[in-house]
Symmetry: C2
Subunit: 405 residues, 2 copies
């Protein structure tokens, strides 16, 4: 161990999660244990903070402060959407070199893994000895190799609790309700809405994920069928649903498609998709009470909704990142392997296996015919999401009618 003597830098990239700071604090506290790591620097706003040399010396933060931050949602070191190219990476090296940084930990999704890959390749070309470890996080749960992603479980708990409440609300004042859920091109997060279905007639009655082409005609006949059966209908829809040509449904509905530096179009931060689907139901099915909410940023940043398993694993992937790099002197992305029901182990996978591409839900998780989610998904996701707070219906006998016999 300790082949490389120098500083460590930790940074966070991409969209925040409820537990991303567990990983941050996992890295910091573990790195502070090793003599070969002189200081632990935190780069502000991800890689953009490296090129600007906006570092904080986290070696001088108190443990209590760090533990408080671990329980705080969103990115404690702040984030960025920058995607470094060759020139950007050259600037990163100049800064890392001059500060004698030898360990770089980047917490993020597939875009951040790609950043790690580029930085790592660039370091090798430049002959600069640097350990680069990607620490996974994303509420979308769409990273390759790993069984699941830290951040997903807590966001899933939020989505489950939201739909459980919505279902109770919709049952008390019936109508159609559409909840639009994040997840980009993966349906995992939307699928967690299924945990809100406690009694057989509970919603969500219909769930639409991006993995299956969204067909307006099928959608309308689904809604009509459920509405006739139940006098109400709760629908969970992924923000990233696409038509048969693979074109996002939101794309045809928005005038200006905003794209970020990675070429991704804006799916969140607007109620357009929900409102368009509600309009479709109102005009085609002539149903009056149609409501829609876009859960938006609450899903990834709302205070107080954290899955315990998710928080613990987020902490551990941060610790393991440091351990792999110091004890084993290797680069890669920390991944989770499920070993039992429920137990996991951590391993390091090459950066190239995680960078850029994403994972979708397997077919066995989706019941296309009934537009819902299968038991197989529930087995997969339940340990990650954890248990919802208890809630119940009143059980009492009906009173015999006198006038309306």
């Amino acid at each position: 161990m300790g082949k490389l003597n120098g500083k460590a830098v930790v940074a966070q990239g991409g969209g925040p999660t409820a537990v991303i700071n567990q990983s941050l604090i996992g890295v910091i506290l573990e790195a502070r244990k090793f003599d070969c790591i002189e200081n632990v620097y935190g780069a502000m706003h991800g890689v953009s903070g490296i090129i600007k040399e906006d570092f904080m010396d986290l070696t001088q933060a108190t443990t209590h402060n760090l533990e408080m931050v671990a329980n705080t949602p969103s990115s404690g070191m702040l984030s960025t959407r920058d995607k470094p190219d060759g020139e950007y990476c050259q600037k990163i090296f100049e800064v890392l070199k001059v500060h004698n940084v030898r360990y770089f930990y980047y917490i993020g999704g597939n875009d951040s893994a790609d950043t790690c890959r580029i930085v790592n390749e660039n370091a090798q070309k430049a002959g600069y000895d640097l350990r680069v470890v990607h620490v996974p996080k994303t509420i979308d749960n769409d990273l390759l190799v790993t069984d699941h992603c830290p951040g997903f479980g807590s966001a899933g708990l939020f989505v489950s609790q939201a739909f459980a409440g919505i279902n109770l609300d919709n049952r008390s004042i019936p109508g159609i309700y559409i909840g639009v859920v994040m997840g980009r091109n993966a349906g995992f997060l939307t699928a967690t809405s299924i945990f809100a279905k406690k009694y057989p007639d509970d919603g969500p009655h219909l769930v639409y994920v991006p993995e299956k082409a969204f067909d307006k005609t099928k959608f309308l006949s689904d809604v009509e069928r459920i509405y006739r059966e139940n006098d109400r209908c709760v629908i969970a829809v992924s923000e990233g649903i696409c038509d048969a040509k693979g074109e996002p449904m939101i794309a045809s509905l928005m005038e200006n498609q905003e794209k970020d530096a990675h070429g991704n179009i804006q799916l969140s931060g607007t109620g357009a998709l929900g409102d368009a689907l509600a309009g479709l139901i109102k005009s085609e099915l002539k149903i009056k009470r149609v409501r829609t909410d876009t859960f938006g940023y609450l899903q990834r940043s709302y205070l107080s909704t954290v899955s315990a398993v998710d928080a613990n694993e987020a902490r551990e992937v941060g610790e393991k990142a440091v351990q792999f790099s110091v004890w084993h002197d290797i680069d890669g992305s920390v991944a989770i392997r499920r070993t039992g029901d429920y137990s996991v182990e951590y391993f390091l996978t090459p950066l190239s296996t995680v960078a850029r591409n994403t994972k979708s839900m397997p077919d066995e998780f989706i019941d296309t015919e009934n537009s819902t989610i299968t038991e197989a998904f529930k087995s997969y996701a339940r340990p990650l999401v954890g248990t919802l707070p208890t809630y119940d219906r009143i059980w009492a006998p009906k009173v015999e009618k006198i006038l309306n016999k």
Copy 2:
């Protein structure tokens, strides 16, 4: 006590809250103690369940089941938007009379108080001896007479926690964020967003409530000022903001203004207002990253976010409704009087003083010049909303720059 022998009926009207079932269970458990009350019936879907004789005999529900329901958001006996007229009330009496109902408890907002008033007047005209007590609830906090309304505190805690998370999110990836909050014509709920402001540079930086005319020019200059100072801006906006003529801002933006039986236009269940304000900022200020969420139904039904004070008071107003009607043989609406910091007492106010009209925020709660909320409001609302979970920023020294000196 116990002048009237007969059955009791309890029902819930209007939009649900996180603690409305505390009031329901308060009524049921208290009513089950009195010999003069033979059975406690629950009317399904509010007054509409009375005319259909859709009753459950809650005397035969288990205490454990009822306590579980007390901790469940939304209306356990289900709700209605019906507003009874004279004919409707006549049907109510026929049913109440034939079942020998002598105590009627209706949990709801000002519309439900109005229903109580009509039913009560109709009972008096018909010479039918009936105690009618309105039990207050509304997340809007807009009932007259009472210091505040059960349901408001928990919804306020949700809004505070949502904005606290949003602020952390917005700080990590800067831009403009607009959160649209419920509350109809009252700004109380939107104002609770101010509790998310922990550090001086935290959002919400701007808060717009319906009590003050919304001026587009002022709004844009506010946003520009904050954005220049902070490189970001978090905005809380009431769904019911109006222009100088008193016309709702959402009205001019929606093609079909849906109205309910009470003549209220639909303010919730659509992202239209947020999207329109975001579009305004994008086009007028040329700021690219503008995001908006409409918190929607999550505010009143999300599982697990309950203020302890709110839950306790919701339980007590239910109990007091029964006690006033049985011990004192009087009709009215249960109201809360603040007696200390923080202590309250309960009293009964005539139904006519609460029915129909609503309350707005007093001027001293609103800082119009800076488009924010005052300390006076915080003193008023903090005991009701309670304490947010702890969260923190990293405190560590900045590292001296080498290349970018």
